[in-house]
């Protein structure tokens, strides 16, 4: 057997090198974070940047503890989470239903194509004031805002995913005596699962964007409200703390869907 440095086989050597690489990348990631935090803290303490406007890690931590202490923060976070999850689920269900319909009827998809393209490229934040007028200020408006940002892109992505199904696999179902329904259930839908999941990863981020826009304009609670409130009363510690929490929430959502994706892939064996 081919030995490396007298002790390790080439395979063991390969695995050790690979693991070392992974550890190195993880530690670089932490280092960047650490440097950024130290740089931020030091420049604020030395007065290079004005800590009133730019805050600092220690101030963020203090603000966070204060918000936790009076129990408000938990309420704001859970409201934003709740609104985002509802928007995301509704986007998933509505776009799955509509893209299935478009797949079934080529005529319908041909007719609706330009409308979908226009609605998708429209900046949805422009609609938020309309939603307030139509639906009032409340959770419904915010959820609708969340849906509006993700929905049309999601329908287009789902539909494109369905369309990319191997035509020979479709023929296979017909040769086995299946009809269009069987084609969809046995081949198109399971084959598009990777597309559905990767679109969902984007959708949950977009739903969060929509919810925050909604909360900016029409809420008395939630992280979006906290950000707007903080900026109006010049409590920038509050704003930056909320933004950092949002960062963590977005990352958490992404990881959650990635986890589902990983588990499904393992189950589906692809």
């Amino acid at each position: 057997m081919n030995k490396h440095s007298g002790e390790l086989t080439m395979q063991e050597y390969f695995i050790t090198t690979h693991k070392r690489q992974r550890r190195l990348i993880t530690s670089y990631r932490f280092l960047i974070m650490l440097f950024f935090l130290i740089f931020w803290e030091v420049s604020a303490d030395l007065g290079i940047i004005d800590s009133f406007f730019f805050s600092s890690p220690s101030r963020v931590v203090l603000q966070f503890i204060k918000l936790c202490a009076d129990g408000q923060l938990f309420r704001h976070i859970s409201i934003t989470l709740w609104e985002t999850i509802i928007s995301f689920l509704l986007v998933f269900i509505i776009s799955l239903a509509l893209s299935t319909l478009l797949w079934y009827s080529t005529k319908l998809s041909d007719v609706l194509e330009p409308y979908l393209v226009i609605l998708n490229s429209l900046p949805k934040s422009a609609l938020a004031p309309l939603f307030i007028v139509w639906l009032g200020t409340g959770m419904t408006t915010i959820i609708v805002a969340g849906i509006s940002v993700a929905l049309f892109g999601s329908i287009i992505s789902f539909y494109t995913g369905f369309k990319q199904c191997d035509p020979e696999k479709i023929t296979l179902i017909y040769t086995l005596g299946g009809k269009k329904g069987a084609v969809f259930c046995k081949v198109v839908l399971p084959g598009s699962l990777p597309t559905l999941l990767s679109t969902s990863k984007v959708n949950i981020g977009l739903a969060l964007v929509g919810v925050i826009i909604g909360e900016f304009l029409a809420a008395r609670q939630g992280l979006g409200y906290l950000i707007i409130y903080g900026s109006q009363v010049f409590q920038l510690n509050l704003v930056i703390t909320s933004v950092i929490i949002l960062c963590l929430i977005a990352f958490g959502f992404y990881k959650a869907i990635q986890g589902i994706e990983y588990r499904l892939k393992k189950k589906m064996g692809s």
Partner: protein, 254 residues
């Protein structure tokens, strides 16, 4: 032997905005029960179109397909179609793949499932029933695809260059293997192939189509003296090269 299938003056054309492309013209032939028929012809001559018409996936624009079922009824025979690639679905286990047709047709009866299990056992796939398609060799995948087709108990099997995705060596083994398995079931088979030696070694009769628009140029009965059952036996038969030359001349002469 009774004819299981009779084609009379079949014609078919493809239509686009640019115009009409005639694919098939006046195709007539018949297939007897239990017979193995190979269809050869230049590429793009409409062989696959013809198979799709026989399978009932396309309606012929002209002509009729007549069917004589064993029980005298005029129903279309149950047709099994094997495509160029195995198209096993990666998200299903081998077992789930081979019962796909039964699932679609709501035929998951005890009798059908035990037949499938018997086939899995006979074709040495029993051990692999819970594996994913990607874990199987090319030959095993073709066997699984064959079981999927046979599960619906078709009377007539259509094979559209079913081995063309395999490398040459595997192809020789698998084509002999699959055809041997089909012969044992006593079913009728129509196979499309590019490979003249494959056609001679597998078929009882070869139908030669002309280039587009296709007509039946010639039909050739094949009788080989076989020494043994190996994949190369047919190719070593004394009559083989004579048939090959005859076929070659038919295809190259205009």
């Amino acid at each position: 032997m009774q004819n299981i299938l009779e084609l009379k003056n079949i014609g078919y054309a493809y239509h686009t905005l640019q115009g009409e492309t005639k694919a098939l013209e006046n195709i007539s032939f018949h297939v007897k029960e239990g017979e193995f028929v190979a269809i050869v012809g230049p590429s793009g001559c409409g062989k696959s179109t013809l198979l799709s018409i026989i399978a009932g996936l396309l309606e012929p624009e002209e002509g009729t397909i007549l069917v004589n079922n064993p029980d005298g009824s005029l129903h279309y025979p149950r047709v099994g179609y094997m495509l160029q690639r195995d198209h096993l679905l990666e998200w299903r286990s081998i077992y789930k793949n081979v019962i796909l047709g039964l699932e679609i047709n709501h035929m998951m009866t005890e009798e059908r499932l035990s037949y499938v299990n018997q086939l899995l056992f006979d074709y040495d796939l029993d051990k692999f029933r819970d594996k994913r398609p990607s874990e199987l060799s090319g030959g095993m995948k073709q066997r699984a695809a064959l079981i999927r087709t046979l599960a619906l108990d078709p009377q007539l099997l259509l094979l559209d260059e079913p081995f063309s995705a395999l490398d040459y060596q595997t192809r020789l083994m698998v084509s002999a293997d699959i055809c041997h398995l089909i012969r044992n079931t006593g079913k009728t088979m129509i196979i499309i192939t590019h490979d003249l030696s494959e056609a001679i070694s597998l078929a009882d009769r070869i139908i030669i189509l002309s280039s587009r628009p296709s007509i039946v140029k010639k039909e050739m009965e094949i009788h080989l003296t076989l020494q043994d059952n190996s994949p190369l036996a047919a190719r070593n038969a004394p009559e083989f090269s004579g048939y090959f030359n005859q076929l070659w001349e038919e295809l190259t002469s205009e």
